[in-house]
Amino acid sequence: MSDASLPGPRAPILEIRSVAKRFDATQALEDVSLALYPGEIHALVGENGAGKSTLIKIMTGVHQPDRGEILLAGKPVTIASAAGAQRLGIAAIYQEPLLFPDLNVAENIFISHQDRGTFVGWGKMYRDAEEILAALGVSLDVKSPARGLTLAAQQSVEIAKAISMNVRVLIMDEPTASLSAHEVEELFKLARDLRGKGVAILFVSHRMEEVFEIADKVTVFRDGRLISTRLRDEATPQRAIADMVGREIDPTKRRLSVAQNDLLLSVRDLACEGVFEGVSFDLHRGEVLGFAGLIGAGRTDVGLALFGIEPATSGTITLNGKPIEVKSPRDGMNYGIAYVSEDRRQLGLVLPMAVFANISLPALKRYLNSVGLLRTSAERETANHFCQRLAIRTPSVDAEVAKLSGGNQQKVMLSKWLNTNPSILILDEPTRGVDVGSKAEVHAIIGHLASEGIGVIVISSDLPEVLALSDRVLVMREGRQMAILNHNEANPETVMSVAMGQRAAIPDEAQR
């Protein structure tokens, strides 16, 4: 189905033919053929590790393909370096723009121009930069340093830079991941303008709704192969996701409830001064309670308070009928509470350390022998157990965590906290930055843990995820608890309208 023969407006500007690339044991790309046409936005989707990044790196001259050829406007070319790619009119913008923070906007736009003479003509450079930005409809002070610009503004500078190099092929690699909705709109406007000017755009994103909003064609990669290329009208998100994971899944399918009647945790009027207030809920054994709300609504702060990282300043927490005080993470762990942070890299994992060492970290005491040294064999045994139980894909438990994919890192982090034998598990954004396949696996694991009687709190900005997983959904808005919705009344519309304050707060009789 790999298809260069779909009708395009003109001849392709960039054509990739049977390209293959291998890194050590991994076949990153295999026999990939893709054609980009001028004036077309071509989306590229696929799980993490499907080969998108490798393709981008080959197109921008960072890597050389092992086999296959690249044709630019019909002529075979060798893209030897990043600078070479730019000379050919191939530019890329990334999620984190790569600007020079100490140079000003105009200098950033023209830094890679080799043809502007020995001396910097500041006046002309400022005028040229202003002209390009004005043509883009972006208002930026060309003399202000790139440091301190918003991400969106930095991306505009990147695009201006690409235009100044007479870009013919623009690669946008996850450009929207850190942008607000308004900024995404602005970016899309820019992308459509460029399309109108005949630029071929390769748009890489994890967000299906964006892909289907902007793309003319959708190509799916899986395991280094091109699975399908479809015109947007012939494709649907479900089909694309099915192609990505190789099986049909319903992203909104609900988990069956395994909640028991025993009350595990009871929280009343919990507040943290200046951060959140009025949080009251019950959590039962085997229950999954979702925390929904917009980013900044205070959901994470409630999680941090329950685990003791940022203790609450008032309110009561009752565990198994006994009032408890959680003043530190140590307290939280002693009471059987585990908190899996949303920020794997900063707060969750020690990336340069082995998988087994990460898993045993919060429970190291258990692995001491009689003279107080660590029994690494026991640590490895635990790690092997979790690798099997959670299907962690790693060469061995001695592998560095940094080398694993996002989904597998997430599973290592889960293992780490499950190893403390928690009765309450707080998961903060458990599937952020994780590919679709791993996401489904994490969801299955959560269901399994609930069936073992663990009370689970899932904090997630991914609404379908919250709805699919939760028995009940607690909705927060601007630091206040607005409602607890039962399984049958929680749907995207009700949750969003409460979270956005479109609907009055629902009192607490929603409690079971």
Binding site: V62, S81, A82, A83, G84, Q86, L98, L99, F100, P101, D102, L103, E107, I111, S112, R116, G117, T118, F119, V120, W122, D141, S144, P145, R147, G148, T150, S180, A181, H182, E183, L294, I295, G296, G298, T300, D301
Partner: protein
């Protein structure tokens, strides 16, 4: 205030405050030391500042690229000693040739530093700490612990430090200071207007991005070390002219003053920002402190401690004060942006 913000960058505020600091230091020393406000004092400070400045200009280029050259003190001593010995043996050498030879010797030693850092991938701190010891060791070994004495030098060299280039009434601009001024102006203009020089800033500012757009990183870093070595060589010549008597200890510890001057002068130790003029202002402050503390009879060990403290303060203020200033500047820009994008803040992650 808004006019100020539009026309002055936070970095320049720093340079002005440094200027104010120098004035304050001079006022304080003036009240402590009798007869401080004399041209004698000025000339002493000026010739001390001149050497630090010239070497600091080279160091600035290196620091801009996110590196550091700790071997400059050894290069100064090495050059001063060997050029001094050479001139002592052959007193008819053309002065211009002597200057060029000094620069060449320094550049040669800089080439070695540059090869180690840019192509050998040795971290600059380690590489130049090594060459600091090596250059000094070679000097001690080859010299056989003899010294260059003033008597052996030709008259033109002995007279050079007192040669008056531009007399303003009683105030002299003497040769060494004039050399420093020429170097500063040349490099300041070059750094601002040469396309090639902007790459020093780019590479230090974001090495990853520089790599990605194909800037010749190794070449630029190598060149920074060579130019730094060359200027240290020129500094060595000035050192020879100023002191005449050169032992194997010449220039030892100078790297501390030079790095202090650069960092105090507002060149970011993490690369990417800073100016040559700033480094000169830093050198003026350091030179003033050195000479004045010396006249107060304070031990040179205390001087080192003061320099160390200045480096720490400068780096700390870089981190704290500059960030505050930038935030202040950014705020006024945000106000403008806010109107067009109301409500954007709510969507930011907490």
């Amino acid at each position: 205030m808004n006019w100020l913000k539009r026309n002055i960058r936070p970095e320049q505020v720093r340079e002005f405050s440094l200027l104010a600091l120098i004035v304050v230091a001079i006022l304080i020393f003036g009240s402590l030391i009798d007869g401080y406000y004399t041209f004698r004092t000025f000339n002493r400070i000026a010739s001390s500042v001149a050497i630090i400045t010239v070497v600091a200009v080279g160091q600035t280029l290196v620091v801009l690229t996110r590196n550091i050259d700790l071997s400059v003190g050894s290069i100064v001593g090495f050059t001063a000693y060997f050029i001094g010995t050479w001139i002592g043996h052959d007193r008819d050498i053309n002065p211009g040739l002597a200057v060029l030879a000094s620069i060449a010797v320094g550049a040669g030693l800089g080439v070695f530093n540059g090869l180690l850092v840019a192509f050998g991938r040795v971290p600059a701190v380690v590489a130049t700490l090594g060459t600091l010891a090596i250059y000094r060791g070679v000097l001690v070994d080859l010299s056989g612990a003899k010294t260059v004495t003033t008597d052996s030098l030709p008259q033109w060299l002995i007279d050079l430090p007192n040669f008056n280039v531009l007399p303003f009434g009683d105030l002299d601009v003497r040769a060494l200071f004039a050399i420093a001024l020429v170097i500063v102006v040349t490099f300041q203009v070059g750094a601002g207007y040469l396309s090639f020089a902007r790459r020093f800033y780019a590479i230090g500012s974001n090495p990853e991005a520089a790599q990605l757009i194909g800037l010749p990183m190794r070449g630029v870093v190598f060149l920074a070390f060579v130019v730094c070595g060359a200027l240290a060589g020129l500094g060595g010549f000035m050192f020879l002219a100023r002191f005449g008597n050169i032992t194997v200890e010449a220039g030892r510890g100078l790297e501390l003053s030079v790095v202090a001057a650069v960092v105090v002068g507002g060149v970011n130790i993490f690369g990417g920002s800073g100016t040559v003029v700033g480094a000169m202002l830093g050198a003026v402050l350091i030179g003033t402190l050195e000479q004045s503390l010396f006249r107060l009879g304070i031990s040179e060990f205390w001087l080192s401690a003061v320099l160390g403290l200045l480096i720490l303060l400068a780096v700390a203020s870089d981190a704290v004060i500059l960030r505050r200033l930038r935030a202040l500047w950014a705020k006024s820009e945000l106000k403008l942006a806010a109107q067009s994008a109301a409500g954007r803040a709510d969507e930011r992650p907490a």
